[in-house]
């Protein structure tokens, strides 16, 4: 009994500890919406602590009761709680309640399961799903029922001896063969469904490029000429977010890259002011950077100088001292030089003018919504800007990863318009969406784009409202601009030499 006392003392000790904590004004749950007054907070926190203490007390008492039963068993040698019997009955209860709950769940939440036929291949997949559900459902029920029934039936009893039964090869072959045959059926059906979805289409489906980035999507339509052209991450800039091969844009990009490297002179209040480029920054060595950041921050010191600012400055100085700042600078230089090089290389290819920079992308339409035509087969061409995303349209049973550096595709045919879906749901506002389903960073959970399925007429109407991505420039201009990259290229080399000296 000594031990029981110890236990009691321990629990009392815990309670008093929590009592002490209770004095501190610490609340477990605060509702954001209703900013409670100090008094309210206090009562709320005491309610919280009361709850905690009561639940711990109850827990402790339960533990105590079980502990005592064990002790008495030890002392008297008799079982107060016959766990064999109790467990057998609990198994039976669990079987009945559990199965009941599973079926309730199946019918209650089962109605949210998407069985909608919004695409042509959904029918096929639903059938496959039902077939699998049929087989697995049977096995689930049989095995769980047998398991818990056996537990109930064969619980130990006075004088009972188990049947010595170590194997039965025939039986084992049978229950190897049955799953095998079932699996064969599932495999065959699965292969058929899979190849139906993935096989190449006979006729030319309409292509739409789906572009994914942290944290959003774009759809690109190839415009009147039906040609997408070769977009590339090399050409991405603020005004050309999808990196389309547009000469004017690329020239501007190269100019700005070169300026970033070499520095620039801008006019402030009518006076020229030099913005140091990356090369200069590296050359200026650590001390200048150090100095510069100190000066920068010092101008902010005064009344507005805050803890946060101090920390930021501290961080900056640390990164300079540890060499991280320098490494970052060098990495930036390397990145930008490489980018300029790669662009030059692509442009200097003999047929680049005809195959890539032929202006075919100028009339492309870039949209913040995906518009599809009911009954028209479409193939999504996926492109990612930064990390892997996944295009997930649950109602269409469409999902495909979007991988940087690798084009993936998905072909399907939508067969239900948004309007029809709205009627079906009785919800005038309902819209289909494409979500991101591969974790891609902080706003992953909110990366979505509206998907509109409509009739051909509606689609044409919508397309008319869309502007081409870039206005076609006249031949002369294109000609003129083409000289620019070479100039900046040589300038770059010059500057590099300077930097080296």
């Amino acid at each position: 009994m000594k031990k029981t006392f110890k236990l009691l003392a321990g629990i009392l000790g815990l309670i008093s500890l929590f009592g002490l904590l209770h004095q501190t004004d610490f609340s477990l749950v605060q509702l954001a919406a209703s900013e409670p007054s100090a008094a309210e907070t206090a009562t709320q926190s005491s309610i919280n602590w009361l709850l905690i203490i009561v639940s711990i007390l109850i827990g402790g008492i339960i533990v105590l009761i079980f502990d005592i039963t064990n002790l008495t068993t030890r002392v008297t040698g008799k079982n107060i709680l016959d766990w064999n019997k109790l467990n057998a009955w609990l198994c039976l209860v669990f079987l009945i309640l559990g199965m009941g709950a599973a079926f309730w769940e199946f019918f209650y939440h089962g109605k949210y399961v998407i069985t909608e036929k919004a695409t042509a291949h959904a029918e096929n997949m639903n059938m496959m799903f039902n077939a699998t559900l049929f087989f697995t459902g049977i096995v689930f029920v049989i095995v769980q029922v047998l398991l818990f029934y056996f537990l109930f039936k064969y619980r130990t009893k006075e004088g009972r001896k188990a049947t010595y039964y170590s194997h039965n090869n025939k039986l084992e072959i049978v229950w190897t063969a049955i799953p095998f045959v079932t699996m064969a059926v599932l495999v065959l059906m699965g292969m058929k469904t899979w190849s139906n979805i993935t096989k190449k289409s006979s006729d030319n489906p309409k292509e739409i490029e789906i572009y994914a980035y942290q944290f959003g999507w774009n759809a690109r339509y190839s415009g009147a000429d039906n040609i997408f052209g070769e977009a590339s991450f090399n050409y991405i800039s603020g005004t050309n977010p999808l990196g389309l091969p547009v000469d004017a844009e690329i020239d501007a990009l190269i100019v700005s890259l070169t300026k970033e490297l070499n520095g620039d002179t801008i006019e402030v209040n009518g006076e020229p002011r030099i913005i140091p480029g990356l090369y200069t920054q590296v050359k200026d060595s650590i001390f200048n950077l150090y100095h510069q950041s100190l000066l920068e921050e010092a101008s902010g010191i005064g009344l507005t100088y805050t803890e946060d600012k101090r920390n930021a400055l501290q961080k900056k100085i640390e990164s300079i001292e540890s060499g991280a700042a320098m490494a970052d600078l060098e990495a930036a230089i390397y990145r930008k030089e490489k980018q300029i090089q790669r662009i030059a290389q692509i442009r200097s290819a003999p047929s680049a003018k005809e195959t890539i920079f032929n202006g075919s992308t100028y009339d492309d339409v870039i949209s913040n919504e995906i518009h599809l035509v009911k009954g028209e087969e479409v193939i999504f061409l996926f492109r990612a800007r930064d990390v892997i995303h996944s295009a997930w349209m649950p109602h269409f049973k469409v999902q495909m990863n979007v991988v940087p550096g690798m084009q993936t595709r998905f072909r399907f045919t939508p067969i239900k318009t948004t309007a029809e879906a709205r009627v079906e749901r009785g919800n005038e506002e309902y819209d289909y969406y494409m979500f991101c389903n591969k974790v891609c960073g902080s706003a992953h959970y909110n990366m979505k784009i509206k998907v509109v399925v409509e009739t051909q007429a509606e689609f044409d109407e919508w397309m008319k409202t869309q502007k081409p991505a870039f206005a076609k420039v006249n031949e002369n201009e294109v000609q003129l601009e083409e000289v620019a990259p070479e100039a900046s290229d040589s300038a770059k080399i010059e500057n590099k030499e300077l930097a080296l000296k």
Binding site: W83, H109, I114, T136, K161, P179, G190, R335, K397
Partner: protein, 632 residues
Amino acid sequence: MSTAAHADHGSHGDHHHKETFISKYVFSMDHKMIARQFLITGIIMGCIGVFLSVLFRLQLAWPETQFGILKMFLGSFAADGVLSPEYYMALVTIHGTIMVFYVLTAGLSGTFSNLLIPLQCGSRDMASPFMNMLSYWFFFLSSVVLLSSFFVSTGPASAGWTVYPPLSALPKAVPGSGLGMTLWLTAIALFIVSALLGGINYISTVLNMRTKGMSMNRLPLTIWAFLLTAILGLLSFPVLLGAALLLIFDRSFGTSFYLSDIWLPGEGAYANVGGSPILYQHLFWFLGHPEVYIIIMPALGITSEVIATNARKPIFGYTAMIISLIGIAVLSFLVWGHHMFITGMNPFLGTMFMFITLIIAVPSAVKTFNYLATLWRGNLKFTPGMMFAIGLVSFFVSGGLTGLFLANAALDIAMHDTYFVVAHFHLVMGSSAIFGMFAGIYHWYPRMFGRRLNESLGHLHFWLTFVSAYLVFFPMHFMGLAGVPRRYYMFTVIPEFEIWADVNVMITIAAIVGSVAQIIFLWNFFSNIFRGEKSEQNPWKSNTLEWTAPLEGIHGNWPGAIPTVYRGAYEYSRPDREEDYYPQHIPGDDDGVYHPESEQKATIRKETVEVSKDKEIVYFTALRSIFGLNKG
């Protein structure tokens, strides 16, 4: 632990230098102590993993609510008591990593392989006690490194436990991919070293150090499971190490194994070209899929042992069980692609992976049916260990069956990365392996600590955990089928998913109840190390050798000679015996196999098994010729 007095009574004639506290409890080379070290570290990691899951479940249930507790533990990562999205993912990532590697690989397989391989095979210790010690300490170091990432200002790794690049390679894409990710990779590299050191040891001990008479066909199924697990680990972990190294190169030395065509705001176009993010996924899942079997096979082995012992029946179809394990082990190397059906790989590859994956269900089904047949007409003793083993079977069935949906490439299009997957793997791998681990702990606690656990608390622990695990994971199937993606920080921004708000609350409450129930276990476990009732020598009346060695755990395991083995591990309730068990080491007057046709006792004792008409013997002989004769 009262073993100090007996520590140097081992009479196997070795030199016995005096044991200090350090050499006995810290840098111990005794497999039983190392097992305890693995177990306790695993339990601590498990508590952390569960705690993390409660923290992020709070966010999923009450996304806009402020929790003082979050602020208290996470500080600026949960300013105002609301978890930030980056930190939500960090918690999920570390939760997954801890559970998969630290609890269910090291904590489960490390503990029980160490404890049981020498004791059940009948050897004095592991083949290399020193490597064994290193294995633990690499694991310990790895745990410390992983946990230290919580103290990094940019937070721990947050790209999911699979750490797919480019996300995991670009600190500018997500803050967790900075120092936190470096620490994650370091931790995993250390972990792999630990797993390999352990694995080599387990394999060589099982193959070379069995006692006289312990042929492969008399090995307990636990040992078979540990052996195959170690082989799986030895073949697959190096691949993960390779994948991790290449990722380290990409992150730190500017190579482009996994990176290409990347543009980030503020950074511009990256210099990396020509790499493939998908390559990483192939390498990762080449380990990743065997890894799930590395997790579940030891649990299945433990279950076989616990169920047979407590059903007082031979495990049904011993040979079939081994063949299934081997089948699972071999096939598990050929199915990794089922995690990648929608990465844009060639549809034909998808077909092959679907085919092999569905076939792997057959040996799994055989194992389940054999468990049922073992229970049939048994004399079931419901010890807590037995209850947890049964829980494993139930979870294994529920979770395994949903695998048949996911294995189907076509269906996977609509299920990949949804909550259906979360439900599937938490049941078949998470819950069921955790239950296997609990079964092992309750069953072998007397063997580890010489004392008994409180039985009633054990049952209470079982029922609370069992019911709450189903409540947590069963509804997730339906969320997944309704299109709810996993790894989402909240569902309230998408109107369509709002219907799940109350289900999310229910799940979180069930998760909290289940987590709090673990306190019962912790109390039971830790308090009884010191105050528990002393256990008798063979508390479950088991056949296997570990119960013949003194429970106080002497160095070298057996004071005298190692017992000789005369029969298989599962001769329970033999009709020709009065008692319902027949320990392996009791000299018997037969060839170790019960022949019902000759009820009378045979007189010749044979060392080797002869080929008889019995088909089972043919399998045995085949196995023996593969694995060689036992050298004793």
